[in-house]
């Protein structure tokens, strides 16, 4: 019996394709995670600064969805696939306006995943076209547990909701060659500013020619009335990558829903989410920390020190609770510098103003309504960053990415001790 078996309608295949196309802007591979009640696609970009998660509700999105599991994967099954291959399978075929006899559009698409001892591990997508041609695509996959990013909703006191179409229209004003987007508020004027810019020339990676480039600043001021909900600390600057933001909005506008963002401070992750019919789209983006290049330069030694000091604690908390989110966010030098210890403990201890999870030990449950909680398997525990990741952090620094929030990106893996 197949591990997973589902059928997509023509519209379903289109939505699926759109989701994959969006992910493809971040990553080459996608992790597919199937459970009884939902199918989740996740991807993490190569610099681990952006995490994408699409959740498809089993009963609403699919025309048919049967998760059988097998002895090895009873509750969930996961695999990693190449997005490029999936894109070509679910792409829209010619047809539509053509008469029935010439219509080669998709009638339905059956996807079967088989895995297990003695079986060929393949994802087989049978695309049945209206013209009577059937294409069976057989893809190899890698069984690999997905990496999930954690987002602590209670930490994110700043939030706003706006129509994705409105936001997409603003994007038209973004100039060419910009890299970063600074979202900041001015409560006095009741404005939200979207400022796009590139890093100043001396900060850019080394080329002499770069000195000739003029940094371009574009500021788009949006009245707060445009937002459905807005609760943002005054004068808070939050900076994200324009490329990521663009990719998200391009997809969000297709669904046409309301886009909601949550974020806390610079250098901490920002979450954007919107939903469609039976689909939930979530993005966690790392925001750039304080634009303090000199601070970045000095920080490395301390960073390592801080990490090694903190690590045992994290591990302990892991053991304390089997719920993955138990791991407190990793401290981070910049963060410590800017908003030192107090903030962190505050975050742990303070009674949550949010829909309340029991405040004490498993603060993890704070997220229990989040998508990432239901990780039943032990090996899904969040784990603090290891040294390898430190290297990546350094790399990010070179790219002018403040690494501060990096710890939230945690690999789910063997933390059994």
């Amino acid at each position: 019996m197949a591990v997973l078996n589902f059928t997509l309608s023509e519209e379903g295949a289109t939505v699926f394709h759109d989701a994959l196309a969006c992910m493809f802007k971040f990553s080459d591979d996608v992790c597919m995670e199937a459970r009884q009640d939902k199918l989740t696609l996740t991807a993490l970009n190569i610099s681990k600064s952006a995490y994408i998660c699409f959740t498809f509700a089993a009963n609403r999105f699919f025309s048919r969805y049967v998760f059988e599991g097998n002895a090895q994967y009873r509750d969930r099954f996961f695999c990693q696939l190449t997005i490029r291959a999936l894109l070509s399978i679910f792409r829209t075929r010619q047809g539509g306006e053509l008469p029935q006899s010439k219509d080669s559009s998709i009638d339905k698409c059956d996807v079967v995943i088989d895995d297990g001892p003695g079986k060929k591990s393949r994802l087989i997508a049978r695309v049945i076209c209206r013209n009577g041609i059937t294409a069976s695509h057989s893809l190899a996959f890698e069984v690999k547990p997905p990496t999930h990013a954690k987002f602590i909703k209670d930490e994110a006191q700043n939030r706003w909701t706006i129509s994705s179409r409105t936001l997409r229209q603003l994007m038209d004003h973004f100039g060419p060659g910009i890299e970063l987007l600074d979202i900041n508020t001015d409560n006095d004027a009741s404005l939200v500013n979207f400022t796009c810019f590139t890093e100043t020339m001396q900060q850019r990676r080394g080329g002499e020619d770069d000195a000739l480039r003029k940094p371009l600043h574009t500021n788009i001021a949006v009245e707060m009335d445009e937002f459905d909900v807005i609760t943002v600390k005054d004068k808070l600057h939050i900076i994200i990558s324009v490329k990521d933001f663009r990719a998200i909005l391009q997809h969000a506008q297709i669904t046409g829903g309301e886009l909601t963002t949550f974020y806390s401070d610079p250098g901490r992750p920002m979450k954007l989410s919107y939903g469609g019919d039976g689909v939930l789209c979530e993005f966690i983006l790392m925001t750039v920390g304080e634009k303090d290049a000199s601070a970045l330069k000095h920080k490395n030694p301390r960073q390592n020190a801080a990490k090694s000091a903190k690590q045992p604690l994290d591990a302990a908390s892991h053991r304390a609770s089997s719920v993955p989110q138990a791991a407190p966010p990793k401290p981070n030098p910049t963060q410590q510098k800017l908003a030192p210890r107090p903030r962190q403990s505050q975050f742990e201890i303070r009674p949550q103003p949010m829909p309340p999870p029991p405040p004490p030990a498993p603060p993890a449950t704070a997220d229990s309504d989040s998508l990432f909680v239901p990780q039943a398997d032990e090996d899904d525990q969040w784990e603090p960053l290891n040294d390898d990741d430190d290297e990546e952090v350094d790399q990010i620094d070179r790219l002018q990415w403040n690494s501060t929030g990096e710890p939230v990106m945690i690999k789910s893996s063997h933390f059994h001790t």
Partner: protein, 354 residues
């Protein structure tokens, strides 16, 4: 070449066309070699492209595609009224295909650029528009009545093949070097005696099938024809992402003619078969035939506006396969294969036909 009295004689061949688009499209579909073999006859021009003796493509420009078409040589069988004995045989030569295409493209360059971009986006509609009804563009030169002429001529043996394009007051003259033709051998195909199978279907279905396969960039393509479902099956293998099988499942509705003597399955180099895609885009119908040696013949019928349909011919030589390999290919994707049993397949179809 000049006649004895010093006055240039009439060219061996001269033809004028009001549009180069059909000419261009037909030639483009055999665009898989640098040099093509040209044969001028009284009925039209025949172009043969040969790819490493593994694939051959033939395109024809028929007389009716031109507004005027004159030849000045004695074709075999016609009466000998020419003074010059040197001009008796139909001329044959080789020519650079990219250069010829380039020259033909100059005609309506601005329009063509716009159309081409559309064509890339929408192969079906471009096909219909260019060859049947012109693009309903209010500002195309054609609509505005500014269409020019393109005259082709081959003055004398060994001379250049000239293309003169006159359009909106601009005259472009291209002289293409001709080369002595090499001895040519057609890929043998046991035509009438022994077609193991013959399938006629719409070219677009074949294009659809190829479109499913192309993204996996496979190395090999297996074409399998059988009397029962799946009738016609294309299977790719050796691709980076996995394999793809395309079945013409509603065979009887999709295939206009289906005649299979015996289950036929051969494996080809994918790239070679894929170079026929260009022809699939412009053709209406396609006829696939295979002989007992495994050679595949693909014939396309292309409707040309204001002219009789033109035919494109391709022949492809398969990989040498052994029975074992074949079994391996067929295995794993198999509903309806009935253990590869030919007897069984034939039996099931017998009922259907009756």
């Amino acid at each position: 070449m000049e006649s004895s009295d010093g006055v240039p004689g009439p060219p061996l061949f001269r033809a004028v066309a009001s549009s180069t688009r059909p000419l261009y499209q037909l030639l483009k579909s055999i665009n898989f070699t640098k040099k093509i073999h040209v044969e001028i006859t009284e009925q039209g021009i025949r172009f043969t492209a040969d790819h490493a003796r593994v694939m051959q493509g033939i395109a024809r420009w028929t007389k009716s595609m031109f507004t005027s078409y004159t030849t000045n040589f004695n074709s075999p069988g016609s009466d000998q009224d020419s003074d010059s004995g040197a001009e008796s045989a139909p001329p044959t030569f080789q020519i650079s295909l990219p250069a010829l295409l380039e020259a033909l493209q100059i005609f309506g360059a601005a329009d063509a650029a716009a159309r081409q971009s559309k064509a890339d986006m929408d192969p079906y509609r471009s096909n219909l528009r260019h060859l049947r009804n012109h693009d309903p563009d209010a500002f195309s030169n054609h609509t505005l009545g500014m269409s020019g002429t393109c005259s082709l001529s081959y003055a004398s043996e060994g001379g250049p093949f000239s293309i003169v394009i006159e359009e909106s007051g601009v005259t472009t003259t291209c002289n293409l070097t001709t080369y002595i033709s090499e001895a040519r051998e057609e890929i043998p195909f046991a035509l009438e005696e022994d077609p193991t199978f013959k399938i006629i279907t719409q070219a677009r279905w074949l294009l659809d099938a190829m479109a499913e396969i192309v993204p996996t960039s496979p190395e090999r393509l297996t074409i399998c024809a059988s009397r029962g479902p799946p009738y016609l099956r294309l299977t790719s293998s050796g691709g980076a992402f996995g394999s793809t099988t395309v079945d013409f499942e509603k065979g009887l509705a999709l295939l206009e003619t289906l005649r299979v003597e015996q289950r036929w399955s051969q494996t080809f180099r994918f790239e070679v078969v894929n170079s026929v895609t260009e022809a699939m885009k412009i053709a209406n119908m396609v006829s696939l035939r295979g002989d007992s040696q495994g050679v595949l013949s693909i014939q396309f019928m292309v409707e040309v506006e204001g002219s009789e349909p033109s035919f494109l011919d391709f022949r492809v030589v398969p990989y040498v396969t052994h029975e074992d390999d074949e079994e391996e290919e067929g295995e794993g994707d198999g509903e309806g294969d009935g253990g590869e049993g030919e007897g069984e397949t034939v039996g099931s179809v017998g009922g259907r036909d009756g």
